[in-house]
Structure formats: structure tokens, C-alpha cells
Amino acid sequence: MSVWHLVLNEIKHRKLNFFLAALSVTVAVGTLVGAMTLLRADEIQTQSILDDKKRQLEKTVAKHEQETAEAGKKLEDDYRKITKGLGFNILILPEEQDLNEMYVDGDLSKSMPEQLVTKLAESGIVTVNHLLPIVTRKIEWPEINRSVILTGTRGEVPLAHRDPKKPLQDLIPAGTMHVGFALHTKMKWKKGDKVTLLGKEFEVTNLKPEQGDTDDGTIWINLAEAQELLKMQNLVNAILALECNCATIDRIGEIREDIEEILPGTYVVEKGSSALARAEARMRAKKSAQDSLKKAKADGEAAIAQEKTSRLEIRKQRENLAALLVPLNLIGCAIWIGFLTFGNVRNRASEIGILRAIGLRSQQILSLFLSKSLIIGIAGGGIGYAIGLFIGVVCGDLPDVNTATSQLFSINLVLASLVLAPVLASISSWLPALMAARQDPALVLQEA
């Protein structure tokens, strides 16, 4: 025989009283848990919506990135073609060549061995291509009594490690001559004309279009013939090259380093215009790509931020509602349990009276009622949690019931329900239970 035995038997005996009290706790806990679970469901939903949007944005950005990269590449390609059209932009000279002579007189008086170009071609260099060895000297053309720049070229030397490319300048066969614009217009030469240079006869095979630079006063002949005419057998004045597209930011520095390592005693000069155009091209391509990306990102992020704000707004409203509803419910439940316990105490007056007469202490009477409240709280808390979770799962609008249940289930909330509900029930029934404990048994027992 224990107090629990008494309590459990009383519960069985007055089922309705227990049921109503437990129902009240169930409703209170159910509302509380339901509200919290719904808020949690809302949070999960918000997160998933925002995640979706973020993923979408990332996809859009990635697509944009690819598009701009492609566009940039195309742009760069275009510019590359243009700069290529502008011709060689790298000039490899003997170290001792006086650049002042080149810029002021248009002449290159220093020479270097021709096989250097072979060495370069076989070196595996990647920062330049289209190697063109030339001899070039400013000479007096005695037969026509004019100063011209004589350039001998043997055609491009293919790089050993790369696929052959369409040359920027073709081989000039022996006995033929290409003539710069200023000269052939002045002399009124036509294709097929025979001209004599330093006693040797050449056929004019190419009349160059206007370039606006020293090329307009230049004639081109076969390298070997030029070397012979200038008494420069196996020597060249310069090697022309075209910067490769693959070079990085410090292009010219890198090219210099490469070449000077392979060909010590040489010096690399960059022709300005085409290099600038190239750099400009890269920059513009990059900038346009970055701009459009930035915009796409900013737009997407703004959209996400807006979504977040509106979801937060809804959440705030729901929280306010819950903040109003839940305490009202708890108070209602507390009052209800108080009344039920009060009724229970009145019903049990004679029972309490006799138990007191038998010798039970008032704490034992108190514990009789509080134990019952504890059971009511645990039962109502457990069922209330289950119902609250059910409400959350059903009304939470999450796509899959099973995952929603496992996402929304919270062991902390279960424990809180199982602890707080009995506490609530005990507090609510405290006053009537105290009344029962304080009740004067004599009064009850006197009633006939």
C-alpha cells in the first residue's frame, strides 16, 4: 500500500475528472508545441526557399561567368587577330645594338649568328612564336640613287615543339623583291618589273600597301641574297617574333627572361602599339565580364534579401500570434486544472477526513493531489506533444511527411513538455491541494 496505489486507484475511479484535466494539459501543450513546431516548419521552409534561390543564383552566375568568359575569349581572340595583323611585336637584337641608331637612323649595324634562331626554335619556348630572322640595313641604292632599308628574310623558322602555323610573312624566293609603298609609288613600279640592286637583278613580285611607318621605305629580298650583298654571311641583325597569347600579366618581362636565358647576348624590344592593344583588349574583356557578373550577382542577392525580409515578416506575425495564444492557453489550462482539482477536493472531503483521522499527515494529503497532477501533467504533456507535432507536420506545409516528422521532432521539446506540463499541473492544483491538506477533518466527520 502506497500513496501511488491510492492515486492510481482514484484516477481509475474518477476517470472523467482525470480525463478532463489531462485534456486541458493536452490542449495547452498541444498548442504550445504546435505553435513552436509550426514556427520551426516555417523556418525550415524559409531556409529551403532561400537555399533554392541561392542555388539558382549560383547557377545563373556560373552561366554568366561562362558566357562572359566565352565572350571575353572571343573578344581577346578578335583583338589578337587584329594585333597579329599589326605584325611582329617582339624584336630580338644583339645586346650591343644601339637602340638610338634603330630609332633615329632606322638602321641596325650590329649582327649576330643566324643559327641563334634555330637555337631559339628548338628551345621549347612558349612565350613567343612566328620567329623570323632578318638582316636589315639602311643602304644607298646606287642604281636609283636613293636611301632604302634593305631587309633580307628567309621566311619563318618553325618552332620545333609546336604545330606549324600559317606564317605572318612568307618566304621570299631568291631573285624576287617586295617593295614598300613609298618606294614603289615614287618609282612607279609594277608587279613583274625587273630592277637592279647593287648589280644584281630582282623581279618585283609584291607591292606592299601603305603602312605609315619605315616599312613604306623598305625592300625585302631573300635572306641569303641579302647576306651576300651585305657581306653578312650567316649573320642576322634581328629576329622578329610574335608574342604568344598565353603569356601572363608581365608579358614582356617573362618573354625577356625566357629569351635572354636561351640566347645570352641578345636583347628584347617590344614594339609598343600592338602590345598596348593587346593589354587593352584583355582589360576590356575582363572588365565587361566582371561588370555583367557583378550585376547578375547583385540582382540575385537583392532578390534573395527581399524574399528573406518578406519571410521574416510573416514569421514575425506568426510569432506574435503564438506569443498571444500560447500564454492565454497556458493560463486557461492552469485555471481549468485548478477548478477541476477544487472539485476533486470537494468530492473527496469525507475520504480526506477519514485519512486524516486515521493519522495521515497533511503533507501526505498534499502529495496525494500533487502526485495526481504529476500524472495528469505527464499524460497530457506526452499526448499534447504528439498532437502538437502532428499539427506541425500536417499544417507545416513541408513536402515529405516522413522527413518533416524527423526534421520537426525535437527531443528537447519532448523533455520540456514532459517536465513543464507536470509542473504547470502541479502549480495549478497547488491551491486546492493545500486546501485539502488544511481541511479540518472534524468538520467533515461530524456531518451526519
Partner: protein, 218 residues
């Protein structure tokens, strides 16, 4: 065993005052069965509650087995009741949701009585409640209910048994059974104070006192 000395009790409710006991003195020895007879409202129940440690007197002294219950704290007085006093009432006051056995055993909640179960089984057998032991009061006859109440009062082997109209709801046959058990208790050395206005019940006592308007009369 029980000693009441010049006990006064007045119920005051707002303006009205009811003098329930007006200087009552009484002594009951061990093994003595005393009955008090008197008309309704003369103060019988009041005296019994005072004797049992449930209702403090306004004046006068109460002693049970050498203990003055009203000098004890409430909890100690509860313990005193559990150990020394057994109550039986006209309305039985059984706990409606407990079986006969559990009702009898409920007295053990108040005392650390190791032999309670054994004693309860003994009482059930002696009071012929064997086949009713697991029935709740609603399923019992009135005689069985009063026997259950008496068994509960006797579970902790009290020194003093207080019986307030224990036969008021019983027919003659059942009243005789219950009165027989009360006599047995007294014969075994217990003290009994029985109050009633029923002459038949009173006739079984060793000694009878008449009461009227809160005082003993001749």
C-alpha cells in the same frame, strides 16, 4: 487510558454561539467498554472527536494513554492518532475506490506497521470478509462496510477505539456482529468509547453514561 477533565467546547459561528460541551469529565480504563447515550445534538460526536485528537477543546484536559494530544504538533498528533486511536463512524467513511483489503491497509499509510498486511489478513478472516477482500465498498452490504471500517480502525492495534453510532445504519443482526467485535476488542484489553442514542448498542457496554446538552446527567 482515556481521561477527559472538565472539557468545554463552544462552536461560534458569526453571531451565534453553540455550547456543545459544558464541563465534561470522564475516565475509561483499559479493557473497559463505555457507552454514552443522549439525544441528538447533545454533544456526543463533539466529545468523541475531542477524545480522538481531532478537535481541540476550549478548556479542560485530554489524555490518552499518558499522552496529551493537544500539546503535540499537528504532525505528531496525526502520528498519535495513527498509533493509539481507532475511529468508526455511522457513515463508515470508506475510501470508495479502494478494495476492502486496501481500505483496511490504508491505515498503514500513517504508521510504520511492518505486520500490517498480516494483521489485515487476520482481521479479514475474523470479520468474515475473505470473499469480499477485493471488492470496493459500493459492492458491499452495509454490514460488510461497517466491518471493513472496524477492521481499518483496528489495523494499527489502537489503545482506544472511538465509535460514533457504529450501528446506526445496521439491522439488528449486523449490529450484533459489529458490537460483538467491539466487545472482543475491549475484552482483549482495549478501551472503547461508543456514543449512540440506540439503547440496544448501549446495552452491550460495561458502563453507560447519559448526556444532555453538553453535560453528563444521571
Amino acid at each position: 487510558m482515556l481521561q477527559l477533565t472538565d472539557v468545554h467546547k463552544t462552536y461560534s459561528k458569526k453571531a451565534s454561539k453553540v455550547v456543545a460541551l459544558n464541563g465534561v469529565s470522564l475516565e475509561i480504563n483499559a479493557g473497559e467498554f463505555v457507552a454514552i447515550r443522549g439525544p441528538s445534538g447533545c454533544g456526543k460526536t463533539t466529545m468523541m472527536l475531542i477524545a480522538g485528537g481531532l478537535l481541540g477543546p476550549d478548556e479542560g484536559n485530554v489524555q490518552v494513554d499518558g499522552t496529551e494530544p493537544y500539546s503535540l504538533s499537528a504532525d505528531d498528533r496525526a502520528k498519535f492518532r495513527a498509533d493509539k486511536v481507532g475511529f468508526v463512524f455511522q457513515q463508515f467513511h470508506l475510501v470508495p475506490y479502494l478494495s476492502v483489503l486496501d481500505n483496511i491497509m490504508s491505515a498503514a499509510l500513517a504508521s510504520d506497521n511492518d505486520e500490517a498486511k498480516h494483521h489485515a489478513d487476520e482481521l479479514i478472516a475474523r470479520f468474515h470478509l475473505d470473499d469480499r477482500a477485493h471488492h470496493v465498498p459500493a459492492e458491499l452490504s452495509t454490514g460488510e462496510r461497517q466491518r471493513t471500517a472496524l477492521a481499518r480502525a483496528l489495523l494499527n492495534k489502537p489503545k482506544l477505539l472511538l465509535a460514533d453510532e457504529p450501528t446506526g445504519n445496521l439491522d439488528r443482526e449486523n449490529a450484533d456482529i459489529v458490537l460483538g467485535h467491539i466487545r472482543e476488542f475491549a475484552a482483549a484489553g482495549g478501551s472503547v468509547l461508543l456514543v449512540s442514542h440506540d439503547d440496544h448498542a448501549v446495552s452491550k457496554a460495561n458502563r453507560t453514561l447519559n448526556m444532555s446538552a453538553g453535560e453528563f446527567v444521571k
